[in-house]
C-alpha cells in the first residue's frame, strides 16, 4: 500500500457532501497516509455526461487531472465511482496506447500540462477493503459499528470487469468482507442489491423521471428488509439516494427514510469520530450511529 496519495476531490463530494471529504481526510490521517492536494484539478470529467458529448475532449480533461497527480509524484485516490471510472479508464488507455498518449499530450500542451500515465488510480473502497483489508483495519478502529445495514456497490467501481479486475461484479465480496469482518456491521441482502442507482450516464441530469423510476425500484427493495442504513462508496450514488428519497416522497407519496452513509463516513466513526456529518444530509438528518466495544 502506498503511504501517500494525490487526493482527487471531484465535484459532488466537496460541493455537495463535504462531510465525505472531512471523514476521508480523518481516515487517511489515522492510517498514516499522507494527502497531497491536487491544486487546480477540475471535474474528472463525469463519464456519463461529458464522455457522451465528446470522448476525445473528455480524455484531455481527465489527462490534465492525471498530470496534476503526476507532478505530485503520488498515485491518485478517489472516493467516487464516477471519478474512478473516468480517471481509471483514461489512465489505462494512455498506459496502453502510445499513439493516443501522443495525441492527448499534443492538446494538453496548450493547457500547460504533460501526462505520462505512469501511476495508478485507486478507489478508497479498494484501499480500505483490499490494500489494508478487513483484518488489518481492526488495528486502526476504536469500536465496531452496531448497525444492520444494506450495501450498494454502484457500477463504475467494478465494471467494466475486463478493465477494473477488482472483484466479480456479479457476486462481489470486497465490501461485505470489509464491513462485516472489519467493522462488525451486520449486512442484509436485498433483491436489487447489484442494480444501478439510476443516476449515471447523464440520465439524472436530463431524464429525471426515468432516473427516479430506477431509484424507486431500488429503494422499494431496500424497504422490504429491516435495514437501518444504506452504505455506499460514491458521492453521486449518495446524492441520488439521499436527495432522491426526498424527491420520491414529495412526488410519489412514498415514505422512504433510509440514512445513507459513505464508506469514509462509517470508517471514520469506527475510528472514533462521533459527528460524521449526517445532520447535513437531506434524508434522516437525526440518525445517530451506535458503537460497540471491540
Amino acid at each position: 500500500m502506498s503511504t501517500e496519495y494525490s487526493f482527487f476531490l471531484g465535484c459532488i463530494m466537496p460541493n455537495r457532501y463535504p462531510a465525505i471529504e472531512s471523514t476521508t481526510r480523518f481516515v487517511l490521517d489515522k492510517l498514516g497516509i499522507e494527502v497531497k492536494e491536487m491544486e487546480k484539478a477540475g471535474c474528472c470529467p463525469a463519464p456519463g455526461v461529458f464522455r457522451s458529448f465528446n470522448k476525445p475532449d473528455w480524455m484531455v480533461a481527465a489527462a490534465r487531472n492525471i498530470a496534476i497527480a503526476e507532478s505530485n509524484g503520488a498515485d491518485i485516490l478517489t472516493v467516487c465511482n464516477g471519478c474512478f471510472g473516468t480517471l481509471f479508464e483514461v489512465n489505462h488507455a494512455l498506459k496502453h496506447d502510445d499513439e493516443l498518449k501522443k495525441k492527448v499530450n499534443a492538446r494538453l500542451k496548450d493547457l500547460g500540462y504533460h501526462v505520462e500515465a505512469s501511476g495508478e488510480v485507486k478507489h478508497i473502497a479498494q484501499v480500505l477493503g483490499f490494500d489494508i483489508g478487513p483484518t488489518e483495519i481492526r488495528d486502526y478502529i476504536k469500536r465496531e459499528v452496531a448497525l444492520t445495514g444494506v450495501i450498494h456497490y454502484g457500477c463504475h467501481f467494478l465494471r467494466p470487469f475486463t478493465l477494473k479486475q477488482i472483484d466479480d461484479p456479479e457476486d462481489p465480496t470486497i465490501l461485505e468482507d470489509y464491513f462485516i469482518d472489519g467493522l462488525g456491521i451486520e449486512l442484509l441482502d436485498y433483491r436489487r442489491k447489484h442494480a444501478c442507482c439510476g443516476a449515471g450516464g447523464g440520465v439524472r441530469a436530463a431524464h429525471i423521471e426515468a432516473s427516479m423510476d430506477m431509484l424507486y425500484e431500488k429503494m422499494a427493495a431496500v424497504k422490504q428488509v429491516p435495514a437501518q442504513a444504506l452504505l455506499d462508496i460514491c458521492p453521486f450514488c449518495h446524492l441520488q439516494f439521499d436527495g432522491g428519497q426526498q424527491t420520491l416522497n414529495k412526488q410519489r407519496g412514498t415514505d422512504f427514510d433510509i440514512p445513507i452513509i459513505h464508506i469514509s463516513q462509517i470508517t471514520a466513526f469506527a475510528m472514533g469520530m462521533d459527528d460524521i456529518g449526517m445532520k447535513y444530509q437531506a434524508t434522516a438528518p437525526d440518525f445517530k450511529l451506535e458503537g460497540r466495544p471491540l
Binding site: 463535504p18 475532449d57 442494480a195 426515468a210
Partner: protein, 180 residues
C-alpha cells in the same frame, strides 16, 4: 418521456443506405456490427430498459445497420452506463462504449438535450459539473475544511483555458426536441 413514450412502427430500410460514420465509430469502439447476434442479453440486463422505452438490442441492431435514426432517438440517452450489458454480452461486444460513440456522433450533429447543455455551461464557468454554493461553503467551514476547495474554482484563468478548448458544443439540430 419515460415509460409511456410510443414510437412510430419501424420503417423498411434498404441496407445500402448506411451512415458510414456510424459503422466506423462502432468498430473503433470495440463493437463489430457483424458480430452482434441479436440475442437480447443486453436488453435483458438493462435496468433502464425495464422502466423506459429504451431497448439496447434494438439500438444495437439499428446502429449495426448504419440507421441514422438511432442518433436523433432520445433513447440512446437513457443508458446509465452501468456496464451490465457490456460485461454480459456473449460476443464480448463493448455495448456501453458503442452507446457512448453513438452519443458522440449525435452530439456532433446537434442532438443534445438542453439540460445536458446546461451542465457544459456550468463546467465552462466553474471547471466543475456541480459548483459550490454559500450553504456548502458554510458547512465546509464548520467541518474545518477550506471554504473553497483548492481545485479549478480558485483558478479562473485555468477554467477559462479549458472552456476555450474543450466541449465546444455544436448548435442545436433543427429536429432536436426541446427538453425544457
Amino acid at each position: 418521456m419515460s415509460g409511456t413514450r410510443y414510437k412510430a412502427p419501424p420503417s423498411v430500410r434498404t441496407p445500402l443506405e448506411k451512415d458510414p460514420e456510424i459503422e466506423e465509430a462502432l468498430i473503433k469502439a470495440g463493437f463489430d456490427p457483424n458480430l452482434c447476434m441479436q440475442c437480447g442479453t443486453c436488453t435483458a440486463s438493462c435496468l433502464s430498459g425495464r422502466w423506459t422505452a429504451m431497448r439496447t438490442r434494438e439500438i444495437m441492431r439499428k446502429a449495426a445497420f448504419g440507421d441514422e435514426s438511432v442518433l436523433s432517438d432520445p433513447d440512446i440517452w437513457l443508458c446509465t452506463t452501468c456496464y451490465a450489458c457490456y460485461d454480459r454480452c456473449p460476443r464480448d461486444l463493448k455495448v456501453t462504449d458503442a452507446i457512448i460513440v453513438l452519443r458522440n456522433i449525435a452530439s456532433e450533429r446537434g442532438f443534445i438535450a438542453d439540460k445536458h447543455r446546461k451542465t457544459v455551461d456550468i463546467l465552462h464557468k466553474t471547471g466543475h459539473a456541480v459548483p459550490i454554493n454559500d450553504k456548502i461553503k458554510a458547512i465546509r467551514k464548520e467541518l474545518g475544511l477550506p471554504e473553497i476547495p483548492p481545485t479549478a474554482f480558485a483558478y479562473p484563468e485555468e477554467v477559462r483555458k479549458m472552456a476555450q478548448m474543450l466541449f465546444i458544443l455544436p448548435p442545436k439540430h433543427e429536429d432536436e426536441e426541446d427538453t425544457q
